[in-house]
């Protein structure tokens, strides 16, 4: 619980808030990139080096690009005239606040039960690699399947059939 943590947390939350609140979609996408980066930093501060870098590589390097491409493909960078928030935004905020209240309450009331000082786990990439083709081999193959399916699905959905109707 250091200054660093608060700083990173603040960046993350600010990024997230900006992503939700900003009008221009591309700005939202850039803000969410900051939030992703903040979460990556949180991973790093939790000694999950590999996960942190993977987060940067996948989220900032790929998902963010995907999002901005999607925005440009749908002319999303124009700010709509009739507001960016849905008419039922108050309900949405209420639900989100309620969820946060419940979770926050749960966190504050329960975490004290967990031991405070865990040893710094020394996990190398090697360990992850061994685990991946060891005990996690089934999830690995399932993920491969999922990714392939996702490729096929996403491509079919997003592809513009030549000569097809609009």
């Amino acid at each position: 619980m250091t200054v660093v943590f608060y700083l990173i947390a603040a960046i993350t939350v600010a990024g997230g808030l900006a992503a939700v609140l900003l009008k221009n979609l591309v700005h939202c996408a850039l803000a969410v990139t900051i939030a992703f980066g903040g979460i990556a930093l949180l991973f790093l501060s939790l000694d999950a080096q590999f996960a942190g870098f993977v987060q940067i590589l996948v989220y900032i390097g790929a998902v963010a690009i995907l999002i901005v491409f999607a925005i440009l493909l749908t002319r999303g960078s124009d700010v709509p005239k009739d507001g960016v928030f849905s008419p039922t935004w108050l309900t949405g905020v209420a639900i989100a606040s309620a969820v946060f209240a419940v979770m926050g309450w749960a966190v504050i009331n329960s975490v004290n039960a967990i031991p405070q000082l865990a040893a710094v786990p020394h996990v190398t990439v090697h360990d992850i690699g061994v685990a991946l083709v060891g005990s996690y081999v089934l999830p690995l193959e399932i993920v491969a399947l999922l990714l392939t399916a996702a490729t096929v699905g996403a491509v079919i959905v997003a592809m513009h059939e030549k000569g097809g109707a609009e």
Binding site: A62, L73, T151
Partner: protein, 123 residues
């Protein structure tokens, strides 16, 4: 604290940020003191070969970009799984390698499918 590798990275980050911002600040200061910026509508218009720009640049793009991004994303994720495997590779047995081979082949299958489907043909 200082032995933490992230400390070095943070220092480097700050230094790099400074490296980027300091000259911009200097340039700003120079403009402020000596060389006042004189913006005007013609100068600050979009450059388009010396003509008045017609239409907006922010137009709708084509899905080809997105399709490549999808495949890139998939391979990026694949690389994320490949790297720890590669690190452990020297100590692994054939079975482990075969499981990874299946993983890779499955993704290659996706690539091959996309290839056959013509996704990899830039419009």
């Amino acid at each position: 604290m200082a032995s933490n590798p992230y400390f070095s990275l943070a220092v480097l980050f700050l230094a790099a940020l400074g490296f980027g911002l300091a000259p911009l600040g200097m340039a700003w200061l120079w403009a402020k003191v000596f060389s006042p910026a004189k913006p005007n509508p013609i100068k600050n218009a979009i450059y388009e070969c010396g003509l008045v720009s017609k239409g907006d640049a922010w137009v709708q793009f084509r899905s080809a970009y997105y399709l490549y991004a999808i495949i890139f994303l998939i391979f990026d994720v694949e690389a994320v799984f490949l790297l720890p495997f590669a690190v452990a590779f020297t100590g692994l047995g054939v079975a482990a390698c075969v499981s990874m081979l299946i993983f890779v082949l499955m993704l290659i299958e996706g690539l091959a499918w996309a290839w056959a489907k013509g996704v990899l043909t830039w419009a």
